[in-house]
Symmetry: C2
Subunit: 323 residues, 2 copies
């Protein structure tokens, strides 16, 4: 059993995920040496998960390994970038072989699916936290930035919204989802990055973001960077059976629109590409749904089935704002 940091790193991290030819040197030297394909630019993103803030102390380490990579792959997807490499900064209070093995299993399963190789890591002692950085490729002209939305463009989201947020409410004892609990818990614990959707649709979108902070906040980022606003048609928001029941019982649109952790894609599409976009999207495993439209007036406005404006609570998850 490894007893030192060096052995721990060597043992677990030296062969995690796919084996890629563009990795000239992986884990184990001062740096990794990596080859970006000619004509592509490098897209990088990082996300940190802290125990007690982003996950509970007792959480399944295999799910955590999955989620730590998934939330980062979601950022690459939102940029229209193809995943390639990951690095991992892992801080642990002590060496726990079983915990680390399970964490690596969850990480590796998702990494293998998207041909991601772990190329660097740093393991330190301290309060449990996980910081993953992902690296992907995209042609400069095909990158999906936040600042490309134009007035009149249509707003689409993938999957269903609010399931992870409802799972958090259920965990806090604020709502009983009944038999839907397993489904929404899975959405919270094992978010699926929408990589295939992004790669299939990136040439048709004008802007994109992934929904980590809730649609209101994240679409708000697109609007802010693009100098515009948006309207959302609440009856069009895609809801799971669990959320559909919750909205019928409670009428609280804050959960699907202002909860974090969905990791669905929000894509903005010019009208002249609508038909082509919807044709390609219809062939994908996870559907995308049109939920609104970009407008000139700043801010996000929500409308109910009768066309009446509806005020929806808080503006999304904020790590410090909720402290």
């Amino acid at each position: 059993m490894p007893s030192s940091e060096f052995q721990l790193i060597e043992h677990h991290f030296s062969r995690l995920g796919a084996t890629r030819e563009d990795v000239l040197l992986g884990v184990g030297d001062d740096c990794a040496l990596l080859q970006v394909p000619p004509g592509k630019v490098l897209a990088v993103s990082l996300d940190t998960l802290v125990e007690g803030v982003h996950f509970l102390p007792g959480v399944d380490p295999e799910a955590l390994g999955h989620k730590a990579l998934a939330v980062n792959l979601s950022d690459l997807a939102a940029m229209g970038a193809e995943p390639a490499w990951a690095t991992l900064a892992l801080t642990l209070p002590r060496i726990d072989e079983a915990w680390i093995e399970a964490f690596c299993r969850g990480f590796a399963q998702l990494a293998n699916r998207y041909r991601v190789q772990l190329v660097g890591g740093d393991t330190t002692r301290g309060p449990r936290a996980i910081s993953v950085q992902v690296h992907g490729f995209v042609e400069a002209g095909q990158a999906l930035r936040r600042d490309g939305a134009g007035i009149g463009d249509l707003v689409y989201v993938s999957g269903t919204l609010g399931d992870a947020g409802l799972a958090l409410r259920a965990a806090a004892g604020e709502y009983d989802p009944g038999p839907h609990l397993i489904d929404i818990q899975l959405r919270l614990d094992r978010p699926q990055p929408r990589v295939e959707q992004a790669l299939a649709l990136r040439h048709l979108a004008s802007a994109a973001i992934d929904l980590s902070d809730g649609l209101l906040a994240d679409l708000g980022h697109i609007c802010q960077r693009s100098g515009c606003g948006a309207r959302l048609e609440l009856p069009s928001i895609p809801l799971s059976p669990a959320l559909d029941q919750f909205i019928r019982e409670r009428g609280d649109w804050g959960v699907p629109l202002a909860s974090g952790d969905d990791y669905e894609l929000c894509l903005v599409v010019p009208r002249d590409r609508q038909a082509e976009f919807e044709r390609v999207a219809a062939g994908l495993e996870t559907p995308l749904r049109r939920v609104g439209e970009i407008e000139a007036e700043p801010g996000i406005r929500c409308f109910d089935a009768a066309g009446n404006p509806l005020r929806v609570g808080r503006g999304g998850y904020d790590h410090f704002g909720q402290a």
Copy 2:
């Protein structure tokens, strides 16, 4: 004053360090978009600093900002790579404007010196920790790996060894360095990455590593990866006046050879390049000194002035081993 995570990131991190033309998109989107020069490979490395493990709670945040970047630039130097970009995962118990400003000041000063641009960041709430990843460029054939040392090659180190370790002893009340305290404290708080030295000498070395865990442990990594051993001549180890006095008083070679945090370079040089290496090295600001030689027999052997073998304590700093 920023009150939310989004504003905090925008305010402090959007213009930190140099402004580089190869950064197509920096902080503020889902990913940064970066351009690696044609013909170069990307070198990446990351290091995490945790409060209470790598730094004390009351440490000067400006020095910490410097050190968090410096220890990473030291890894790029050890690879012979030219620094380019950095990302920062910052976990803080609360928003403290003055602390963040001072941290950014220390980070930016060093970043500007080496033309490093901050291209991505994630700020989270939790126990204070800093994880920096650096990205640099090197021609594939010029990278200084750990596995290139050959039998008979000479071992060089830059600067002086053990000052940071002695500062830790002084802080623990185990030793009084007298008037040398300021000098050794500066070595601990503000390590200088040996970037210029590495770039000037990389074409002459067969292997390299930076001294983060102590010469015995780090040269041990080179030997392990290169399938060899080494001998060290203790009288040749470069010592500051503080260390010279400490060795005369205590005779404890564990401090210069097995303390962490020096961040000097250890370069291994084939004999047929010795003359050229020493000629180039002599023109550099921080000198390098020959301290030993690569041998076939595994392990590191130390010899005193009389040529007698000397056993030197523990094998270097280990985050978990010392827990």
